[in-house]
Amino acid sequence: MGNTESAGNIDRAGIEMATLEILKDLTADWDTDYAGDIGPDTLLIEELAFESIDVVQLVVSLESRFQRRDMPFEKLLMNDGRYVDDIKVRQIFEFLEETLTGASHG
C-alpha cells in the first residue's frame, strides 16, 4: 500500500511526521514568498498563504492519509460559528492526536 496510516496504531510522532510531509508536498510548488521550514509554529494563512480551498485540500489529504472521513475538522477550523483567522501547524497536530488517539489538550 502507499503512504497511508492506520488510525489505530498512530502516535504523536507519527502524526507530526505525516502532517509535515503532507504540508510540504501540498505547498511545494506554490508561488508564495514564504522561504522558511514548515514547523509547529508556522501559520497556515499568514505564512503559507493558505486560502479556503487549500484548507479543503489539506483536509482531504489528512483524511486520505489517516483513512478517516468523519474527523470533526470544524473543531479546528471554526470558533463560535465563524471560521478562525489562522491556524498554527501545532494546532493540527493536537487536533489529530485528540481525534485519532483520544489524547486531550484541554
Partner: protein, 539 residues
C-alpha cells in the same frame, strides 16, 4: 483496442442551440455544421438544477444527483450547532464513473477537465480533473506521472490550465469592459492547453473513449450573452463596438471548432462522435436576494444588518466570510451558495437552534408557499416560478445532503446570498445564465442522421458511450441508449445488452501505482495468464 470505433465525447460547457445555430449558419463553426448535417442532433435536458457539478457528474455516471451525491461545488454540513462547508471532490461521489466502468472491462478511457475527478481514482487510461486550482493540479490527474508530460507541451501554463476561483466568480457577476480582451484571450489560451493535452494523448497513448470538456463556452456566455444571443444583437444592425466584442467571442468558438475537427482526425478512420453540453443558456436581467428575502420573514438573521449589497453581486469573495455574516442563533433557513438556488433548513437534531422533526414539513411548506406567493413590488409579477422539495427534485440514496427546497427564478438566474435593501434588483446589464436545454450531437458509424423529436437526457450519455464501445449497460444506471439514435441495422447487429450493476467506489483508493508499477503489474498479470493457459484454465 477493441473492434468498436474509437468514441469521442466532446463537452461544451453551457452550449446552446440558440447561439450555435447562428454560428453554424454564419460558418463560424464549420465542423459543428458538418456534424449537424451528417449526424443526429437535438436538445439535451440537464439535471433539475442545471449546474456544472451535478450535471457533468450525471454525464459521466448515468445517475441523477439524488444518487450520485453531487449537488453543487460545495456542501454545507451542520456540525455541533455550526454550519461547516466542504468542497465536493471525487470522494463525495457515491457511484462509479464511466471511466471506471470502462476500465474494469479491459478498455481504456481518457477524461479531461470534467468536474470532480480529484483526488484521482485509478483508471486504465488518463484523467485530469477540471475545476481544480493550480496549486493542486499536479495531484489531480491519473496517472500522477502525466504531470511530467503535460508540462512539456507548448504554451503550458499551470495557472491558466487550472481553475481560478476569482475568475469563476467574475464570470457570473459581470466583467469591466476593459477586461474583455484579456478575458477572451485567456480562455482561448486555456482551451488551447486542454486541446494540446488531448492531442498528445490521442497521438501517443489513445484510449477507446476520449472525453474532454471545453468550459470557456460557459464563461464567455455568462459575460457576453447580450452579444451572442440572436434575439439581443442583430449582426447586420449592431454598432461597431458591439460587433467588436462579438468578434472576440466568435474567435473563441472558431478555435474550439477547429480543435474538435483536429481531435476527430486523430481518432482512427471513422470515430463515433458525441457532443454534449451540461446545460443550456439564456439571459438574466435581475437579482433575487434569497437570504435577504428569508431575513425579511424572520427565517434568517444577519450579524451586521448594515452590510448590504448595492451592486447586483451574488456572493462574497470568500465563502467563509459569508458563514460569518449570518447570525446562526437567529437563522433557521438559509441559502449557502448562489449556484444551489436552494434553501437549507436547519434541523434541531443536528445540535443547533433548528426546526424540530415534527415541525419540519409544515415549516418547509410555509417557506415554499411564501416564495411562490411573493410578487415583484414594481410589476406585481411572480418571481419564484417553481419550488420543489428535495423529495421531488432529488429522489435517491443521497437526498439527505440536498437543499430542502430548490427554486427556479423567473429569469432562470442564480440567487444572491447577500443582504440588500430589497429582495429584487434589476441588473445594470443583461448577463447570461443557465437553462435546462443543452445540446446533443452525434455522428459516426451506426448513427441515424436527422433532428431528434425528443430530447436526450444527461443520464443517457453514459449508457450511450458504453453501448458505443460495445459494452453492456449496467442495470442500475438510470438512463438508456436514446431511442432512434442508432440505425435499426446497427441495433440488429449489436443489440443493447444489460449488464451487472456498477460497483460502490472505495473512498480511499490510496494504492496508486505509478506507470512503472503498472507496467510491472501488467507483466505479472501476463505471467499469471500464461501459467493459467499452460494449465488449461483459460484459452
Amino acid at each position: 483496442m477493441a473492434d468498436s470505433p474509437q468514441t469521442l465525447l466532446f463537452g461544451l460547457d453551457g452550449a446552446t442551440f440558440s447561439v450555435l445555430d447562428q454560428l453554424i449558419d454564419e460558418g463560424v463553426t464549420p465542423f459543428l455544421g458538418e456534424l449537424r448535417d451528417r449526424g443526429q442532433w437535438g436538445e439535451l435536458m440537464s439535471t433539475v438544477n442545471p449546474l456544472t457539478p451535478p450535471a457533468w457528474t450525471t454525464v459521466m455516471t448515468g445517475r441523477s444527483p439524488g444518487n450520485h451525491g453531487i449537488y453543487d461545488f460545495i456542501r454545507a454540513e451542520e456540525r455541533g450547532g455550526s454550519v461547516f462547508f466542504v468542497m465536493n471532490s471525487s470522494r463525495d461521489r457515491r457511484v462509479e464513473t464511466l471511466w471506471e466502468i470502462v476500465s474494469r472491462q479491459q478498455r481504456r478511457a481518457t477524461a479531461l477537465n470534467f468536474f470532480g475527478l480529484a483526488p484521482p481514482r485509478p483508471v486504465a487510461g488518463h484523467t485530469i480533473s477540471g475545476f481544480v486550482p493550480y496549486r493542486h493540479l499536479r495531484r489531480a490527474m491519473w496517472p500522477l506521472e502525466l504531470w511530467d508530460d503535460i508540462q512539456k507541451l507548448p504554451g503550458f501554463d499551470r495557472k491558466e490550465l487550472a481553475m481560478d476561483l476569482d475568475l469563476e466568480k467574475k464570470s457570473i457577476q459581470g466583467l469591466p469592459e476593459e477586461d474583455y480582451d484579456d478575458w477572451t484571450a485567456m480562455h482561448r489560451r486555456r482551451e488551447r492547453q486542454w486541446f494540446e493535452i488531448a492531442q498528445m494523448l490521442l497521438t501517443n497513448d489513445p484510449s477507446d473513449v476520449t472525453a474532454i470538456v471545453f468550459d470557456g463556452v460557459d464563461k464567455l456566455q455568462h459575460v457576453f450573452w447580450r452579444y451572442l444571443d440572436p434575439e439581443m444583437l442583430n449582426p447586420s444592425t449592431a454598432s461597431p463596438a458591439d460587433l467588436r466584442v462579438r468578434d472576440l467571442c466568435l474567435d473563441y468558438y472558431r478555435e474550439v471548432d477547429g480543435y474538435l475537427r483536429h481531435l476527430t482526425s486523430l481518432a482512427g478512420d471513422d470515430p463515433r462522435i458525441f457532443i454534449v453540453s451540461d446545460h443550456g443558456f439564456g439571459p438574466t436581467w435581475e437579482v433575487f436576494y434569497l437570504n435577504a428575502w428569508l431575513a425579511e420573514r424572520g427565517y434568517l438573521g444577519w450579524r451586521d444588518e448594515s452590510d448590504r449589497d448595492t451592486t447586483g453581486a451574488l456572493t462574497v469573495d470568500r465563502l467563509k466570510s459569508h458563514v460569518g455574516m449570518l447570525d446562526w442563533d437567529r437563522t433557521t433557513a438559509f441559502c449557502l451558495t448562489p449556484s444551489s438556488n436552494g434553501v437549507f433548513i436547519r434541523r434541531a437534531e443536528a445540535g443547533g437552534n433548528g426546526i424540530r422533526a415534527e415541525d419540519y414539513e409544515s415549516f418547509r411548506t410555509k417557506i415554499a408557499d411564501e416564495l411562490l406567493a411573493w410578487r415583484d413590488p414594481a410589476s406585481g409579477g411572480q418571481v419564484v416560478t417553481s419550488v420543489l422539495t428535495r423529495e421531488q427534485a432529488y429522489p435517491g440514496t443521497t437526498m439527505e445532503m440536498a437543499p430542502d427546497l430548490l427554486l427556479t427564478i423567473r429569469d432562470g438566474g442564480f440567487v444572491s446570498i447577500l443582504n440588500a435593501d430589497a429582495p429584487l434588483m434589476p441588473r445594470d446589464e443583461v448577463l447570461g445564465t443557465h437553462r435546462p436545454e443543452g445540446v446533443f450531437m452525434a455522428a459516426g458509424p451506426g448513427i441515424e442522421p436527422g433532428k431528434r423529436d425528443t430530447p436526450v437526457d444527461l443520464i443517457d450519455v453514459t449508457p450511450t458511450v458504453l453501448y458505443s464501445l460495445g459494452l453492456p449497460v449496467p442495470q442500475d444506471l438510470e438512463g438508456r441508449v436514446p431511442e432512434g439514435l442508432f440505425t435499426s441495422e446497427h441495433l440488429a447487429g449489436q443489440p443493447i445488452e444489460s449488464g451487472p450493476p456498477t460497483l460502490t467506489p472505495d473512498p480511499f483508493p490510496e494504492h496508486r501505482p505509478s506507470r512503472d508499477e503498472k507496467a510491472l503489474e501488467d507483466e505479472a498479470e501476463a505471467e499469471v495468464m500464461a501459467r493459467l493457459k499452460a494449465l488449461g484454465y483459460v484459452e
